[in-house]
């Protein structure tokens, strides 16, 4: 089960900001009158990857594959059950109490549902200034000035600070959520499907805002999404998750042009192409069956029950996490291409 990533940091543009090794997040299942633990849901089961400073790592996969759990575990919103999360050389998987609280300003999160991520009883001003209050960053006039700057930074009228969240549209609320995440000037932001609940026209605005902010503030993103075209647009590298494991990790163009893992191929074949001629000829790989229960994953390769290329070995032996060698990354850099599959040469 242990699949340690060979860190390909030497070939990369930036040094790793976040390093994840064998991250495990199991949720216990209790049953019966005595509420005894009868098993666990392996939402995240042995993830290893690096996120380099200044890059956007896309994390894709179907619903329930553990993407959001991974993002939340990275920010220590859960007590992780195993593995290491290293943030700037410091292991944060075991931190607790004030030591963890002191790390919070460095890493923030943008949430999926703009309806649920803002407290309906607080004004926008107090929502954005909550992080400032909690970490005693600013008070009084200085705080109001900071809130004003943050609202301007996300393209909103600073006068809106006195309003309540329900007075805004979904896109505006998402901007408020982004302003809150920026309040403590973090280095690393987990974007947990920030555009999934938005209109297509608003999606573009929010994604462009995120890109602008990244450029201005040098942010590092973990961008979780199931929208592959958006991932292609925003990400530098992409990790594909299936049932709690990463099956393929590659630079974005490499992944979209030359996917190696059969699951990635199936996933990519579902992306519509905005050209009728190509779209008519597009061959879809239709997967049969359902995602297996993460409380009882199949032996061997997790994907073997649905894989069109499966051989006998797949259901027996778990594929190792292999480096296929360098591939062309974004901005002319060279990145490694990782995959976990027996059938890939």
């Amino acid at each position: 089960m242990t699949t340690i990533a060979e860190t390909g940091g030497d070939t990369a543009a930036g040094a790793p900001l976040v390093q994840v090794q064998d991250l495990e997040m199991y949720f216990p299942i209790y049953k019966g009158v005595l509420r005894r633990q009868v098993g666990s849901v392996r939402a995240v089961d042995g993830l290893s990857f690096d996120i380099r400073r200044g890059e956007t790592l896309g994390l894709v996969g179907e619903s329930g594959c553990g993407k959001s759990t991974c993002g939340r575990a990275l920010l220590r919103l859960y007590e992780v059950t195993g593995g290491r999360i290293t943030f700037e050389g410091r292991d944060i998987a075991e931190l607790a109490g004030n030591a963890l609280r002191d790390m919070r300003p460095r890493m923030q999160m943008i949430f999926q549902d703009p309806q649920a991520c803002l407290n309906p009883r607080m004004t926008v001003g107090s929502i954005i200034s909550e992080p400032l209050d909690e970490h005693h960053v600013a008070t009084g006039e200085e705080k109001r000035q900071r809130v004003r700057e943050l609202l301007e930074a996300v393209g909103m009228n600073p006068e809106f600070a006195n309003r309540y969240p329900h007075e805004f549209s979904g896109g505006q609320r998402q901007r408020i959520g982004i302003a809150r995440a920026l309040a403590l000037a973090p280095d690393f932001i987990v974007c947990d499907e920030p555009i999934a609940a938005l209109d297509v026209s608003i999606q573009a605005q929010v994604v462009n805002l995120l890109q602008d902010l990244q450029e201005k503030l040098g942010l590092t993103y973990l961008f979780i999404s199931h929208d592959l075209s958006m991932i292609r647009h925003i990400a530098d590298r992409v990790a594909v998750m299936y049932l709690g494991k990463i099956v393929e990790l590659a630079p974005v163009e490499e992944l979209f042009n030359a996917p190696k893992h059969p699951y990635t191929k199936a996933l990519l074949s579902a992306v519509p192409v905005p050209d009728p001629a190509v779209e008519a000829k597009r061959e879809r790989i239709i997967l049969t069956g359902d995602v297996p229960n993460p409380a009882n994953p199949p032996a061997g390769c997790r994907f073997c029950t649905r894989c069109p290329d499966a051989i006998d070995r797949c259901s027996v032996e778990e594929p190792v996490w292999r480096n296929l060698g360098p591939a062309k990354g974004s901005n002319g850099t060279v990145e490694d291409h990782f995959v976990a599959c027996h059938r890939v040469e």
């Binding site: 649920a116 407290n119 009883r121 107090s126 006195n162 309540y164």
Partner: protein
């Protein structure tokens, strides 16, 4: 790094940002447009003033027995007539109101505090959920009347000697009503908290590093205010009525000590000859309960920013 990239200066000539608008002024503005709430407040304030200032204007002693003037109808001297012992009914209703209101409000406050505390703790801390909710079930399963009997039997004399007969029994009754009526509130609050704590804004507060007690006071508590307000308004009515029942059983205040509930039960015997004797204190109870319910309705709406902006 962030500061350098963000626009630091407000454009010249633009007014400085207004301070956050005052929450309580907004709340009052919304409360004031709720007609029912304003009427309820008016009636409640009137009842409170009448009950506490009235005895200085209508100076008859409520316990003065004037047997020759018994069972009289309304007159200038006795606006609500007299009872079977010649005591002035109006003076009794005023004196009874003092006790009933005090018992109602204090017992409601006590049961609300206990219920909210247990509900929030049980809903928020998973480890406390089981023990606290089983504790609540235990209280719900207790046969209430025998319990009250035992408590009052055990503690009446001790409290009487410690605080005097009236204060002692007042404390006892408030306490007894308070600790036997918090369970519904606790259950409702727990249910709401369970839902709220999974909302993303609570998760966002955790990711900021907000401490637990702040998460509860800033994010959880304000969002469960609505069911608490409803419980509060129903609680006053419930407390007044329970106190009446206790007085009827001879377990409440002494028989010569008027409360609204006691007056109703005393009047029941003469319901056929003098129905008004039940009607006056009964109306006082009904008006109080109704006005408090409307007030609660108004407060609940006023505290909800979504309703506040729809006016």
């Amino acid at each position: 790094m962030t500061d350098a990239a963000l626009p630091n200066q407000a454009p010249p000539g633009e007014p400085a940002m207004r301070p956050h608008r005052s929450l309580w002024r907004d709340v009052w503005a919304q409360f004031a447009v709720h007609k029912g709430a304003m009427a309820g407040t008016g009636i409640f304030v009137f009842i409170v003033l009448a009950v506490f200032i009235g005895p200085y204007i209508h100076t008859l002693d409520p316990s003065f027995i004037d047997i020759r003037n018994k069972n009289q109808g309304p007159s200038f001297e006795h606006p609500m007539g007299t009872d079977q012992l010649g005591r002035d009914t109006f003076a009794q209703v005023l004196a009874g109101g003092q006790v009933s209101l005090a018992v109602g409000v204090t017992a409601m406050a006590l049961s609300l505090v206990i219920g909210t505390l247990i509900g929030v703790l049980a809903g928020y801390f998973r480890r406390l959920d089981g023990p606290l909710m089983r504790f609540t079930d235990l209280f719900l399963a207790l046969p209430l009347l025998p319990l009250l009997l035992v408590i009052i039997m055990l503690f009446r004399d001790t409290l009487r000697s410690a605080f005097g007969p009236e204060t002692g029994i007042f404390i006892l009754i408030v306490f007894v009503i308070g600790i036997t009526s918090w369970m519904q509130t606790a259950r409702i609050v727990r249910g709401d908290v369970l839902g709220l704590k999974e909302r993303e804004f609570v998760l966002a507060a955790h990711s900021i590093g907000t401490r637990q007690h702040r998460v509860i006071s800033r994010h959880i508590f304000p969002n469960v205010l609505s069911p608490i307000m409803v419980s509060a308004t129903l609680g006053i009515a419930n407390a007044i009525i329970t106190e009446s029942a206790l007085s009827f059983l001879g377990l409440g205040f002494p028989s010569d000590f008027p409360t609204w509930g006691r007056l109703v039960f005393d009047g029941v015997t003469f319901l056929e000859q003098h129905p008004e004797r039940v009607l006056y204190p009964g109306m006082a109870i009904a008006l109080t309960v109704l006005s408090v319910n409307y007030m609660g309705d108004g407060i609940r709406d006023a505290l909800d920013p979504r309703i506040r902006s729809n006016r």
